[in-house]
C-alpha cells in the first residue's frame, strides 16, 4: 500500500483520536461512567433475574417465595438504573476535579448538591381512577435522576467542577480581621466555591422556572437528549460509528475508545430507556444500545474477529496464522482481539483491512434489519460486560433469537473473512517454506 497515502491518513486521524481521547471533559465523562458501570450492570442483571426468559421460572419462584417475589430483584434495579444520574454526577465531577488537581470528594459533593438544586422536588401525580393531578411536594422524583437526567448530570458535574477550579486557582479568600487564626480563615474560605456553585445553579433553576420548560431537566431532555438519542439510534449512526471505529483500528488506534467517548452516553441512555420499557412490559423503543454494539457487532472483538480466529486456527496452513489463532481464540471468546489486530497484523495490512471494515457494516445491516422487522427482539437494555462470550451474550439480551442471530453473524463474518485470510495465509506459508528451503540448501552446500 502506498505508504505516503497511509501516512497522510494517519496524520489526519492521529490528532483527531488524540483530541477526542485527551479532551478532559470526554475523559471525565468516560471515567464517570466507568465508576457507575459495575453498579448499573448489577442493577440490570437483577432485573433480568426478576424476568428470566425461562418458561415456568416465575411460577416456580412464586411458589417458593410468594407473589411479589420479584420486588426483591427490582430494588437493586431501582437503586442503580433509576438513580444513575447521581453516580454519574459524582463520578464525572470527581474525575474532572482530579484532572484539575482539586479535591475530588468535596467537589463531587458540591456537584451533587448543584444537581439537586436544579432538580424539582415535586411532581404531578394522578392517582389511579382519578382525573385530577395532585402536585406532590417533599419528594425527589425518580423521573429526573435516572437516565433522563444523564445529560443534565454530566453538564452539572462539569460546570460545578469548573466553578470550584476557578475559585481554587484564583485563590479567592475571605479577608479576616487581624487576630483571627488562619485555620478559621481557611474554614470560611472553603465555603467560597460551594457558595458560588450552589447559588449559580440556583440562579439557573430560577431562570428556567420562568420559561415554558419549567426546569432545566425538561429543557435539556427535549432539546438535547431526546434528539441525540433518536439520532444515535439510527442505522446511519451505526454505520458511521462503526466505520470510524474500524478505520481508527486499521491505523492502530483503539477505535471504540475514541468513538465511544461520543457514543457511550447516548447508547447508555437508549439502554436505560429499553430497560425501563422492559420492566414495564411495554414495547422496547430502541435498537441501538451499547450491548447491541458490544455483543452483536463487536463479536469476538472489533471487526467481529471470532470467526477469523477460528479460520486461522483450523483452516490456515502457515505457522504464523495457526499459532496466532491458538493464542487469540481464548481472549477472542471474551471479545478481546488485540492479538489478532496487532499480531496478524490487521493494522496497516492492505488485504485484511478490507474485510475488517466491511464486516461490521454488513453485520449491523443484518442486525438492524432483523430487529426493525421484528425477526429478532430489540435489546432488552440489560447491561452486561462487553466481554460476555457470544451466544451467551445474545441470549441474555435478546433471548434465543439473539443467540441464533449471533450464530448467523459468525457464519456471515466467517465467509467474508475467508478469501482474505486465505490470501494472507498463502503469503505467509510461502515465506515460511521458502526460507526453510533456502536454509536447507545452505546447509547441504
Amino acid at each position: 500500500m502506498n505508504s505516503k497515502f497511509t501516512d497522510r491518513i494517519e496524520t489526519v486521524l492521529m490528532p483527531i483520536a488524540g483530541a477526542i481521547s485527551n479532551n478532559r471533559y470526554l475523559l471525565a465523562i468516560r471515567d464517570g461512567f466507568m465508576l457507575s458501570m459495575p453498579l448499573l450492570i448489577i442493577g440490570a442483571m437483577s432485573l433480568l433475574l426478576a424476568n428470566l426468559p425461562i418458561p415456568g421460572y416465575s411460577d416456580f419462584m412464586k411458589n417458593i417465595f410468594g407473589t411479589g417475589w420479584d420486588s426483591f430483584f427490582r430494588i437493586p434495579f431501582n437503586c442503580t438504573m433509576n438513580i444513575m444520574a447521581i453516580f454519574v454526577v459524582f463520578g464525572v465531577a470527581n474525575s474532572l476535579a482530579n484532572y484539575y488537581e482539586v479535591d475530588g470528594i468535596s467537589t463531587s459533593v458540591i456537584a451533587l448538591v448543584c444537581f439537586f438544586i436544579i432538580t424539582p422536588f415535586s411532581m404531578n401525580f394522578t392517582p389511579e381512577g382519578s382525573t385530577t393531578a395532585y402536585n406532590v411536594t417533599g419528594i425527589i422524583p425518580l423521573d429526573w435522576i435516572g437516565s433522563k437526567g444523564l445529560f443534565v448530570g454530566m453538564f452539572t458535574a462539569i460546570f460545578a467542577t469548573e466553578i470550584v477550579k476557578v475559585v481554587a486557582k484564583r485563590g479567592w479568600t475571605i479577608k479576616m480581621p487581624e487576630g483571627v487564626p488562619p485555620t478559621v480563615a481557611k474554614a470560611f474560605s472553603a465555603l467560597i466555591p460551594g457558595v458560588i456553585a450552589l447559588y449559580a445553579f440556583n440562579m439557573v433553576r430560577l431562570g428556567f422556572s420562568f420559561t415554558s420548560f419549567g426546569t432545566i431537566h425538561e429543557f435539556i431532555f427535549k432539546i438535547l437528549q431526546k434528539p441525540l438519542t433518536s439520532l444515535g439510534d439510527t442505522y446511519v449512526a451505526s454505520i458511521v460509528a462503526n466505520f470510524f471505529m474500524q478505520l481508527f483500528w486499521v491505523f492502530g488506534i483503539h477505535g471504540p475508545n475514541v468513538v465511544g467517548a461520543v457514543t457511550q452516553p447516548i447508547w447508555l441512555a437508549t439502554s436505560a430507556d429499553n430497560l425501563a420499557a422492559f420492566q414495564a412490559g411495554k414495547e422496547l423503543p430502541h435498537i441501538l444500545t451499547q450491548q447491541y454494539e458490544d455483543l452483536f457487532i463487536q463479536l469476538g472483538g472489533s471487526g467481529a474477529t471470532l470467526s477469523l480466529c477460528l479460520s486461522m486456527l483450523f483452516l490456515c496452513k502457515s505457522e504464523q496464522c495457526k499459532k496466532l489463532g491458538k493464542l487469540a481464540i481464548i481472549p477472542g471468546l471474551f471479545n478481546i482481539n488485540e492479538p489478532i489486530v496487532f499480531g496478524l497484523p490487521i493494522v496497516l495490512n492492505p488485504i485484511m483491512m478490507i474485510p475488517f471494515i466491511i464486516v461490521p457494516l454488513v453485520l449491523t445491516t443484518i442486525c438492524y434489519t432483523s430487529m426493525s422487522l421484528g425477526l429478532v427482539p430489540k435489546p432488552s437494555g440489560v447491561l452486561i460486560p462487553w466481554t460476555t462470550p457470544p451466544i451467551i451474550g445474545g441470549f441474555i439480551i435478546c433471548g434465543i433469537k439473539g443467540a441464533i442471530l449471533q450464530i448467523v453473524e459468525i457464519i456471515v463474518s466467517f465467509l467474508i473473512y475467508l478469501p482474505f485470510i486465505k490470501m494472507v495465509d498463502k503469503q505467509y506459508y510461502l515465506e515460511e517454506t521458502t526460507t526453510g528451503e533456502t536454509k536447507e540448501a545452505v546447509q547441504t552446500c
Partner: protein
C-alpha cells in the same frame, strides 16, 4: 525487584502479557513484577514503578503518559505492535529492560 506497569484501554489485553513477561523473566533468572491497568487510572498506579509501557492502540495517550511519568523519572514507551500482537513476553521484557538500563 523490577516493577513494570502496562496500560491499555481496559487493562485486559495487556494483562495477557503479564504472565508471558513474568515467565520470560523467570527463565532469565530476573525478579520482575508486571501489572496491567486501564490507562484512565494511570495516575494512581505510578508508585515504585521502573518502567511504563502503553498498549499500541492507545499510543495517542503517550504525551499524557509522559507528562505523568517523566516528573517521576519513569521512562514511558509504546509496546512494539508486532510483539504486542504476538504477545511475545520475551521481546516486550527486552523493551522494558532497555528502557530501564538507558
Amino acid at each position: 525487584m523490577i516493577n513494570v506497569r502496562l496500560f491499555c484501554s481496559a487493562g485486559m489485553s495487556t494483562s495477557m502479557l503479564i504472565s508471558k513477561m513474568e515467565n520470560a523473566a523467570k527463565e532469565r533468572g530476573l525478579e520482575i513484577v508486571v501489572d496491567a491497568f486501564p490507562e484512565a487510572e494511570m495516575a494512581k498506579h505510578l508508585e515504585d514503578v521502573d518502567a511504563v509501557l502503553l498498549g499500541p492502540q492507545i499510543r495517542f495517550a503517550l504525551n499524557k503518559a509522559k507528562k505523568l511519568c517523566e516528573p517521576k523519572g519513569i521512562p514511558v514507551e509504546v509496546i512494539n505492535p508486532m510483539n504486542y500482537g504476538k504477545m511475545d513476553g520475551s521481546k516486550v521484557l527486552d523493551q522494558a529492560l532497555n528502557m530501564i538500563n538507558n
